[in-house]
Symmetry: C2
């Protein structure tokens, strides 16, 4: 039935030391899984690369279990049901889930819970705006950031998957949104397509001076995807009662030694401000509310998105390395069988 | 009418470089002020020394105006009305307010707003639990920290004026409270008189190990008066959804060079936690609510307090220097005319 295919997976070969390297992964041929009673066989079509993966690989976080050496690399994917003994997921159903970096898998919907991709939604969108990325932007921006009409909202990593959605959600909420991204192409995209009021290219501009200039009354919400010096800049430009949403710290993820904290954190006192972290999985009971809201914004055309898609399963390590070099715009994906 | 008295004030002579020194102040004889129509003459009886004063002297904060060189040193005081042309404040009325470091002052109740000290309340208590100190503890702990019954609450600077009240308010709210203070005498006071469950002497104990041991399920609320390494320890021991109340950073106030930020701030993400600052003056419209609550706890005997009182107006610089050396227990005051 899957005559011409063979199954492969990427396993974690080594914990990254500093930057992620190709040798941190091992590409392994594995037997084609055979679905039993009450199971489906899924052919994976897209897999994601995400900043959080580095923490899982390094085993230096504790909010989820680390990946063990030799385990299949963890990650979200989308695919199609090839064989089914589950009435809810007939052959041909498009599904997403925590598939891991492999070409084929079987599931009874419990070992790896499956989510149906709604008819008409591209799988790439299901992994981006309507996946964990969009959910992260939704709850981070709306629940923690709480942008109000007229607020000034600053987003770093603004051309990334989460930042680009988070900034647009703030814009839809009536805020003026300033993005920080690396490179003119990304900055152009933020302003011309996504409706950001302005964008700062941190690679060619003086971020500190530009933030002060663009946010003369201070930053009401700072959605932080990067940490490091840009977090310091935001802390120096807070409005009273500002909210800093700690979403990511990609500038830190490539460091292997001690990392400096925000030296000016005490501005949180002077500005009566708040810095708060969150884990999107805590909001599972409210995912449907967010998916419904995100879908509405997609359907109305208010919410734009982009995916950077590398072609071929073997490109997965490269996709993740690209992400840490900032070469993606929007969601970083791999098309498994182009 | 005030025949034997002369008036004096401490002026700011120099902005502190590193630690505060006696030469940062200048003791000046000034004319006895003469109250006019609609004014009172107040003889100051107690003046306070507070950590925030260093920031005002250095002019490195912007939430209030800095003190200018040559200006009278800013600070809260309590005194008695000696002459009055204000019907609301007859001769003999005890009052508190932003008197500054001087022996006598006149006010029309607008130039320096006056607050009556309720009958039966000692002036020292009015400057401590029922003054800005108690208000800071009240709003910081209850509004920002939000301790719940059964929560574990950690307080640094716990034997100081604000920390000792904040910790007790958490205890009254049903939390188990752990204090961090310098020296065994302070630690004994916290446990035996104030009802803290335990106290850690940071001068003789391994604070990190002790916090982990005493808070095995993590810290739900950390009330921070000190910053520095103890903030790092708290960040390493947070419970999920913890609240860090940024009240002070006295460990930083003696530094003149760059100050390290909390390197592990990203634990706020893993623990879905919040770090928030506040300025008590923002709560002015709710001061009466807090005073009423604090008075109730004082009257019931649940809320204990202590004042460390130096004798004599000329002791004011010493009182402030003592504060930064941590030699006070409870509120640091000076009795102007002992």
């Amino acid at each position: 039935m899957v005559a011409n295919s063979h199954n492969q997976q990427f396993q974690l070969a080594a914990r990254p030391q500093g930057e992620i390297k190709p040798t941190d992964f091992k590409l392994v041929d594995v037997p084609m899984p055979v679905p039993g009673a009450g199971e489906v066989l899924v052919e994976v079509q897209y897999l994601t690369a995400e900043p959080a993966m580095k923490g899982w690989m390094e085993a230096r976080v504790d909010y989820v279990a680390p990946i063990k050496i030799g385990d299949v690399m963890r990650g979200q994917g989308a695919g199609i049901v090839l064989q089914s003994d589950l009435p809810d997921y007939p052959k041909g159903t498009l599904v997403s889930g925590h598939f891991g970096w492999r070409r084929y898998l079987v599931s009874d919907d419990r070992s790896i819970p499956l989510r149906k991709i709604p008819v008409g939604v591209p799988s790439t969108t299901a992994l981006n705006v309507l996946g964990i990325t969009g959910l992260t932007a939704w709850f981070g921006m709306l629940d923690i950031g709480m942008p109000q009409p007229g607020n000034t909202v600053l987003v770093s990593g603004a051309a990334g998957a989460t930042g680009s959605v988070a900034g647009q959600l703030a814009r839809i909420a009536g805020a003026r949104v300033i993005g920080i991204a690396g490179g003119q192409e990304k900055c152009n995209w933020l302003v011309s397509e996504l409706g950001f009021e302005a964008a700062i290219d941190y690679k060619s501009e003086d971020t500190s001076a530009r933030v002060a200039q663009l946010c003369p009354d201070g930053v009401d919400v700072y959605f932080d995807n990067v940490g490091g010096e840009i977090l310091d800049v935001a802390l120096n430009n807070l409005a009273d009662r500002a909210r800093i949403v700690l979403c990511g710290g990609i500038s830190r993820y490539n460091e292997s030694g001690p990392i400096a904290g925000p030296a000016n954190y005490f501005n949180l006192v002077y500005r009566r401000a708040r810095m708060e972290g969150f884990i999107v999985l805590d909001y599972a009971s409210r995912f449907s509310e967010a998916i419904s809201g995100l879908t509405k914004h997609l359907d109305s055309g208010e919410l734009h998105h982009r995916e950077t898609v590398l072609q071929g399963f073997e490109q997965l390590p490269q996709a993740l390395m690209d992400l840490f070099r900032g070469s993606n715009m929007g969601k970083q994906l791999v098309a498994v069988n182009p």
